[in-house]
């Protein structure tokens, strides 16, 4: 059975942004997402996830090339200045292309 190309956008951000990013994703046309708790380090220092204020989450959403671009740009404008957050986009292959 043939696989179709889609994009997956991965966002690593401080956990306090969870609800607001989910709202954004839905508004921008994503039909679903998967979240994992994480820790890490970057320009804004170590976020070791050991208490409320320094947890990270990883949010992934599979979507069309175009939606992926919308999301990447929106996050850039909306959050990059003020929050510990990064995001990246990659190519993947799926069945059920209409699902995503």
């Amino acid at each position: 059975m043939e696989l179709k190309k889609k994009r997956i956008v991965t966002i690593v951000a401080e956990s306090i942004l969870e609800t607001s990013i989910i709202k954004d994703l839905k508004r921008l046309g994503s039909k679903g997402y998967t979240i994992v708790d994480a820790r890490g380090e970057g320009a804004r220092g170590v976020r070791s996830g050991d208490w409320d204020q320094n947890r990270n989450i990883i949010i992934q959403t599979i979507c069309s090339e175009q939606t992926a671009h919308l999301i990447m740009d929106f996050l850039y404008d909306q959050y990059y200045d003020d929050y510990a957050i990064i995001s990246y986009s990659a190519e993947i292959e799926v069945h059920r292309e209409n699902k995503f």
């Binding site: 306090i16 070791s48 996830g49 050991d50 204020q53």
Partner: protein, 319 residues
């Protein structure tokens, strides 16, 4: 002092602090941290609610007014210190000020256990003061930061929701209600967990807080010397204000010590969450380091005995 230093909960805090400073790989599971903080908040509310049964509404009014006053005065005072002397940016100053106006429930738990240890009585409604003091400063802090802030007017809705339905206040109030409605008899079946283990859980939590605090200390170089001084001087000033207003509003020695400690304590649950949402431009390293890295340990180890001493002084003086 040394008496306080030799209390197991203070010792646990020091053990945790040392673990962090020595870079021990000791680390409490993050969900244990969450569990303990939920447990402590709820148990504090529960205990307060049961005690509330013996409180007369009239008696609560004056102290409540005093508490709200503190919640408004302290952040304004803190803000001006930070701006004028500390030269902090408006937003940073406002965010830090909100933390010092609000309260730390754990510090409250420690002062209560300090009073019980020394068996000094306190008013049955002090838990209400804890709840009352948590919110106003957060609002004041945000208002200050927003004054003539060009960038569009803010949405208060989600913020109020965040504050009043946030873990911290919701659990305290929820506990208060459950404790109050159940009453001393019916509550007994759950006391072994919520009261019997309380101090032990507090000790374990302070062990973890020690580790977390040690991490924040690493940021001190980034935040500079002024904030260190502020983190020690500010609670003392607030403690004095708390002592004065406590005594003025007719609180007992115990109650005054509690109010002074509440005033001196800086929030690290409700305020940080609210600031991150309402004032994203404020640098969290500053308010977290001040509140958790300096003021929290100061209060636990040195502050509480000092506030107790202040209150004794004023009550000795008064009577």
């Amino acid at each position: 002092m040394t008496g306080n230093l030799l209390d197991p909960i203070v010792l646990c805090f020091i053990v945790g602090l040392t673990a962090g400073l020595l870079k021990s790989d000791l680390k409490l599971p993050d969900q244990l941290y969450e569990t303990l903080s939920i447990y402590l908040l709820f148990a504090i509310g529960l205990k307060g609610g049961v005690e509330l049964a013996n409180a007369s509404l009239g008696a609560v009014i004056l102290p409540t007014i005093a508490t709200i006053t503190l919640g408004v005065v302290i952040p304004i005072l803190a803000y001006n210190l930070l701006r004028r002397l500390g030269r902090f940016e408006r937003t940073d100053a406002a965010a830090i000020a909100a933390h010092y106006g609000s309260v730390s429930a754990v510090t409250y738990a420690v002062v209560l256990s300090f009073l019980i240890q020394a068996d000094i009585a306190y008013e049955p409604y002090v838990a209400v003061l804890l709840v009352v003091l948590e919110v106003p400063a957060i609002a004041v802090g945000i208002l200050i930061a927003r004054m003539r802030a060009s960038k569009g007017s803010m949405k208060w809705g989600p913020l109020l929701h965040e504050v009043f339905l946030g873990k911290s206040i919701y659990l305290l109030v929820g506990g208060l209600l459950v404790g109050y409605l159940s009453g001393p008899q019916k509550i007994e079946s759950v006391t072994p967990l919520f009261f019997g283990l309380f101090k032990g859980a507090l000790a374990l939590f302070l062990l973890e807080m020690g580790i977390i605090t040690s991490r924040r200390l690493a940021d001190l170089k980034k935040t500079g010397p002024f904030l260190v001084g502020f983190g020690i001087v500010m609670p003392i000033i607030s403690g004095i204000l708390g002592t004065l207003l406590g005594a003025a509003s007719g609180l007992s020695l115990g109650g005054t010590t509690v109010l002074a400690t509440l005033a001196a304590s800086a929030s690290y649950i409700a305020a940080p969450a609210a600031m991150r949402m309402a004032l994203p431009k404020a640098n969290p390293t500053l308010y977290l380091t001040a509140s958790l890295g300096i003021t929290f340990p100061f209060n636990i180890i040195i502050g509480i005995p000092v506030y107790h001493w202040m209150s004794s002084a004023i009550h000795g003086f008064g009577g």
